[in-house]
Symmetry: C3
Subunit: 347 residues, 3 copies
Amino acid sequence: MTFSAKQIADYLQGEVIGNPNVQVHSFAKIEEGKPGTITFLSNPKYTRYIYETQADIVLVNGNFVPEKPIKATLIKVPNAYTALAALLEMVEKNTPKKTGIDVQSAVASSAQLGKNVYIGAFTVVEENAEIGDNCQIYPQVYIGDNVKIGENTIIYPGVKIYKDCIIGNNCIIHSGAVIGAEGFGFSREKDGYRKIPQTGNVIIEDDVEIGANTTIDRSVMGSTIIHQGVKLDNLIHIAHNCEIGKNTAMAAQVGIAGSSKIGENCVFGGQVGISGHVTIGDDSQIGAQSGILSNVPKGSRIIGTPAIPVKNYFRSSVLFARLPDMDRQLRSLEKEIEELKKKLAEK
Amino acid sequence: MTFSAKQIADYLQGEVIGNPNVQVHSFAKIEEGKPGTITFLSNPKYTRYIYETQADIVLVNGNFVPEKPIKATLIKVPNAYTALAALLEMVEKNTPKKTGIDVQSAVASSAQLGKNVYIGAFTVVEENAEIGDNCQIYPQVYIGDNVKIGENTIIYPGVKIYKDCIIGNNCIIHSGAVIGAEGFGFSREKDGYRKIPQTGNVIIEDDVEIGANTTIDRSVMGSTIIHQGVKLDNLIHIAHNCEIGKNTAMAAQVGIAGSSKIGENCVFGGQVGISGHVTIGDDSQIGAQSGILSNVPKGSRIIGTPAIPVKNYFRSSVLFARLPDMDRQLRSLEKEIEELKKKLAEK
Amino acid sequence: MTFSAKQIADYLQGEVIGNPNVQVHSFAKIEEGKPGTITFLSNPKYTRYIYETQADIVLVNGNFVPEKPIKATLIKVPNAYTALAALLEMVEKNTPKKTGIDVQSAVASSAQLGKNVYIGAFTVVEENAEIGDNCQIYPQVYIGDNVKIGENTIIYPGVKIYKDCIIGNNCIIHSGAVIGAEGFGFSREKDGYRKIPQTGNVIIEDDVEIGANTTIDRSVMGSTIIHQGVKLDNLIHIAHNCEIGKNTAMAAQVGIAGSSKIGENCVFGGQVGISGHVTIGDDSQIGAQSGILSNVPKGSRIIGTPAIPVKNYFRSSVLFARLPDMDRQLRSLEKEIEELKKKLAEK
């Protein structure tokens, strides 16, 4: 299927600059644009590519002013990234979906499936599980006893959901994610560890996306809760009894230890570690690889282990690299003072 | 099922303070306690909640002395956390278990299954594998050729165990864990890497628990060994040829590089990294996110990258944040010395 | 099967020192060598074991000169590790392979399978997928629509490959790896995040090995590319739109954020984190746990967060541990200067 610059601009309510009749059939990154493709410019790091791209159309922000002539047709929109998202969504919506209950699945007779549900091959739906309308459950998924899944949720191949967990509407869970495994709870006894049974569950609210191979453990009692709109990247670990606030986003490989509560609208860089029983205030931004040992107030901008304000961190980091110089300076000052003392004594 | 405070106290051999007839039917966290629930107080961080909790019963340590009146009935026990564990265990024991060999599983005719074994749907048990009495092998598990599993071991959905590995009695392995994948062994040649076949196996001794999506690689030759009572959290990586000592516990996302030997009774925080060919002494405690580059003696308490004693680390960390001040101080001392020199010369 | 030292030396074109008739039947680590086993010495850390090993044969480098008598027969070869690899490969080649299309698999009628392909139980091959000659696809694997896999590739149990991805020849992908999950792309709107559909794919070229539970996300548009000969260890995260250069090797738990380009022949230690939109030059070596925030030139040797040259890093680290001393020194210098000032004023 092909579209003209004019058709696309009309759909996005944008403004064409250049040839409105040029046709495109697929998407490309700006640095890899080829004839017949549409691309976008949003991150200023990539601006230089717009003057060389072979793509036929480029979506640009309304305030974009070229410094040189551009071969491609431009479509000006308020936000190029959002406009791209709208186009990609249109394409996605027109992709045919898998349907039906595969004969090679294993759905318990007590399980309840909504309308228009897809269940792939070798997927297991255990006793009393409930799956809402329009869910897509891909092959090789495990849905334990009593699990409840809302409507329009997509569960990719191989996801494992332990018994009693609750998943909301419009969620996406990627392959290999494990929801509701037993939390890491032991009491130390003389001759080893004694397991604390983890009798709670995991609750995932609406509009949550969970990345590939991410693990979210069930609570000792009560629930581990992932609130509405949370976005978790791949290989993240959320321990038992945690709570992640609404619309918080975490990059890959973050680890949150047990019973910590993360506020709303937080953004975590990759590989961040949060200690147990810690509270992170709403709207906090935590830099990649940070280690957080204690409570953090609302709106913090921190980084490092232990984390400190971002500005201070980078200043201190520069000086960390200069520590050998500082040490040399210290020693030379010591010597100078010794000499001064001697001279003074001589006077 | 409901229990009275008296019944619970009798079971735990504890002492009731308050109404012995109050009835509870489920567990709750102390800060989320509701009528009809029992909770516990162990971590002093949560003491303030005992004065407000709506839970009807709270398990407390023998030495707990309230500072204000408490609405709930208390049950005093030597250790509230252990008592909670005992109650949770009782509940767990009374939960019905899955049984039988699912007709949709694939068990090789040469495999040997013990008495009372559960094999879930779409699980594969390959040639000559042996599974001991009372094991529960959930759906979608892969058990390779010649794998041996002891008695009473639980393997959750989707675990993959490569050929020749040995798992002990009373182990628990959570979803997505991979046991016995090939270690990361290559020799660099002129035009790329040459794979070193990994012909060994993994041995997991009794009473080991392995978290979701944790990976333990097989040895080049001989065995990667996880000794008795080890507890590994989620998303941990244990490389080929490693050995983890008895009753050592590791929090999530720890990574141990090849051929390292970890002692007994060690405790590792989350996201710790251990270099290859390193020995960690028994009873060592390593703080979260630490990086260990060389051998560590028995009983160490270290943290940081490279790790140093805990006390020193926190002192140095405070000063890291103050490096810009120290730098300013240094510069001002330099100036003062210059001035002193001048003045001295003038005298 | 047993082999004599002479037979092995002939196969490796090595030189026997000691009894050429001694027979061995299996491999052992040098510190665990038993009669009837062959071992090797390559890493000098293990040299002391050669004088005590019970193994009957030890492969040693050509330049190895014993300092004490050795009981074992030695076989001198140019490179002991490579020679070991050759022996292990011989054993591996003689291990029987799984064959045939399991009746309990689900292969779409539109999928194309090459000659001599193995498809294990409960594996799904979706519409229009293509699998080349001699591939071994173990049980419980998911191969999405239109996926193309070259020849001689091994896919271990439980790997998930999303639609449209392309895998080359002679690749090995370990259990739990997820190829082509949707990249972590969202645009922030007033009331939460809006998903950016990820319409691209992942391309994995020839001779790539991917570790257990590693995740490689599909591109927004275009491809995430893993070039020829790349070796990725376990639990690694490669985000959308990344490109990993030829023959680059990464240890476990590395995370690469979106759109970063890693050069050829790089070596990354474990747990390294790379920011998004960063370029790492060819032949770079990055130490374990490093955090890289900006572009790195060809041939860099760096470590730390933010990363600095290796030599500087270790110097600075030593001084980090000594910061309390430096601080004390600073304070005492200040005092001394105060006293000097006073004395000078008195003169």
